[in-house]
């Protein structure tokens, strides 16, 4: 519709000066291709390196191609010696519990704030608003002591508690969405004898599904990629997550770039798969999450 209408108009406008217009088109695609190359080259080089043998890496330049395109030996080394399966297990466990916790906490807060009138409501809302202003990197020095006092240091509870307990953005996403759910639904259920918990569970939570999808995607990716929290709170290698396990490649594999590269690719591939599968949701999810 839009294109149909604008295409002839544009042709008319540009007809008089087609040479500069053609140059502009060439420059536009050239800039896009350059940007695509800037994104891809560093990643492709790592992919190539991950398929090379140790001697190939030592003897040939970074842009050369591997001799055997199906040399997955580095991947085996990375996954086994880098304990990456355990790391995937830890990350998955933390991710599932924290994401579920975030959804519960966020939706319950939104339900309480949007659907009830109560004393101190203004205070509660301003507490949550104030919390958005405090970036969590700044308070880790003291958060660490709180986690330590709880006995959660060096356990999976530390990241779970922090991911679940400090996510104000999710609360805002739920709060914004719950306003579009008609209150008449709650009231109808209440007349049928449902209590608040039933209304929350049977009506609000199912209606919040699109917001839940957004939160799960944004939160899931954030947890998968987080380095700071597991690095600070779970120094035990047994508790390594994807990020910290990969970070530990730095020591033992020192200059073994073929192994480090394989580990890096192993970490990137799941992200790529999720991105390709959920592209549309990811764009809208991050747009919703970052403007809060």
């Amino acid at each position: 519709m839009t294109t149909d209408m604008s295409a002839p108009a544009r042709r008319r406008v540009s007809a008089g000066r087609s040479v500069p217009a053609a140059t502009a088109v060439v420059l536009k695609y050239l800039s896009l291709l350059v940007a695509a190359a800037v994104v891809l080259v560093p990643l492709i080089v790592v992919l190539l390196t991950s398929l090379k043998t140790e001697s190939e890496v030592a003897s040939s330049g970074p842009l050369s191609l591997p001799g055997d395109w199906f040399n997955f030996a580095n991947y085996a080394t990375a996954i086994e010696q880098g304990a990456m399966l355990r790391a995937f297990g830890n990350t998955t466990l933390i991710l599932v519990i924290s994401t579920a916790g975030t959804v519960l906490i966020g939706s319950m807060t939104a339900y309480a704030i949007d659907r009830f009138q109560f004393r101190l409501k203004k205070l509660v809302m301003s507490l949550f608003l104030l919390a958005t202003l405090v970036p969590s990197v700044t308070t880790q020095v003291a958060t660490f002591q709180v986690i330590d006092d709880l006995g959660a240091f060096n356990s999976r509870w530390a990241p779970i508690l922090l991911y679940t307990g400090t996510d104000i953005v999710s609360i805002y996403i739920f709060l914004q969405f719950i306003r579009s759910i008609p209150v008449s639904l709650d009231e109808a259920a209440r007349i049928d004898g449902a209590n608040s918990w039933t209304i929350y569970r049977k009506i609000i939570l199912p209606m919040l599904r699109p917001a839940i999808a957004t939160v799960v995607i944004v939160k899931g990716i954030a947890i998968y990629n987080d380095f700071y929290v597991p690095f600070l709170y779970m120094p035990d290698p047994e508790l390594g997550t994807i990020s910290t396990a990969l970070f530990r490649f730095k020591g033992p594999f020192g200059a073994h770039w073929e192994t480090i590269s394989a580990g890096t690719i192993v970490v990137i591939v799941p992200t790529l798969i999720v991105f390709l599968a959920l592209q549309r949701f990811i764009y809208s999810g991050f747009a919703a999450g970052s403007t809060k």
Binding site: V39, L40, A112, F128, Q140, I191, Y200, F249, S290, K292
Partner: protein
């Protein structure tokens, strides 16, 4: 407040009594109890969220301010009050201020990043072949794990590595210590940050551009406006809120840089940032008091930036919340 809520709590209770006549016999005591339960209900839903909020956001802030006036090492049970000593230490040692110069590199880089993102968002909002492919390619780095990004670029910047090889192809000879030379290290790291975060800015801008009603462009094209005029008079004003938000996030983001320099250089060669310094003070040198003071300073700076933003663009906050 209280006056406003009373009629509403009365509402459902009254409804119930009229719809369920058998209950009206013991209506009076039950209604009283029900009112207490109704008043309690929101607090039952808020109990867990508020506990977590107080425990992991407000308690740490309060603790941190408290620690910042002590000489605590983070382990020993005793700590003594030292007044403002930590703060004077922060202010009087010039070495501690170098981290702000490092932030300057990231700040400049993020302005560059916003400009690049604006360009590509505009380009992709017009008719472009393989639009979704380009959008996906440029956005994907934002999704990649930070440690993976760090390793990708550690390899990229190796002496005689990818970047040097590519430069040789275009005729620039020589090996560079991209991460080892203090003059090059910060620009290199800031470049990685642009590589990683540009796509997010672009997608946000693109979303805002696409929410501009298309008939505005059509009208402009009929009036003979060229691309630059369309950008200047339709797109730029239409996405002003998200651009100003990006600038604010750029400032607070460049103060809080941690991951990329910590993973890639560990803060060596003059690449130490404020957060790296704080983490080192607290967890390597056991100077929790001093680290807290420095974190309080960072927090105040970020609050100041946010306050300035609210002052400069009051209308945008309303729109976004």
């Amino acid at each position: 407040m209280t006056v406003a809520h009373k009629p509403r709590t009365g509402g459902p209770a009254a409804d119930r009594r009229s719809t369920l006549p058998p209950e009206s016999a013991h209506g009076r005591p039950r209604a009283g109890r029900r009112r207490t339960i109704t008043a309690l209900t929101p607090w039952l839903f808020l109990a867990a969220p508020l506990t977590l909020l107080l425990m992991f956001t407000f308690l740490p802030v309060a603790d941190m301010i408290g620690y910042s006036f002590t000489d605590w090492d983070g382990i020993s049970p005793s700590r003594s009050f030292v007044g403002g000593e930590n703060y004077t230490d922060l202010v009087t040692r010039p070495a501690r201020f170098e981290v702000f110069l490092v932030s300057g590199f990231y700040l400049v880089a993020s302005f560059l990043q916003i400009a690049i993102a604006l360009y590509f968002a505009t380009v992709l909002s017009f008719n472009t072949r393989f639009r979704n492919l380009f959008k996906g390619l440029l956005f994907f780095p934002y999704l990649i794990n930070g440690v993976a990004v760090g390793f990708v670029f550690l390899y990229f910047f190796q002496p005689d590595g990818t970047l040097d090889t590519l430069l040789r192809l275009v005729g620039a000879e020589g090996e560079h210590l991209w991460l080892g030379n203090p003059d090059l290290a910060n620009p290199s790291l800031a470049g990685v940050s642009v590589w990683r975060f540009m796509g997010l800015n672009m997608v946000l801008f693109l979303g805002a551009i696409q929410s501009i009603p298309p008939h505005l462009y059509e009208a402009a094209e009929l009036d003979g406006a060229n691309r630059w005029q369309q950008f200047r008079h339709i797109i730029a004003p239409g996405i002003k809120p998200i651009i100003s938000l990006s600038f604010i996030l750029a400032v607070s983001g460049s103060l809080a840089v941690f991951e990329i320099p910590y993973i890639m250089t560990g803060g060596a060669n003059g690449t130490e940032t404020f957060v790296i310094q704080t983490v080192k003070l607290a967890f390597q040198f056991d100077k929790v008091g001093l680290a807290s003071a420095s974190a309080v300073v960072l927090l105040l700076l970020i609050l100041l930036v946010t306050w300035v933003q609210r002052r400069l663009f009051p209308e945008e906050r309303v729109e976004l919340s």
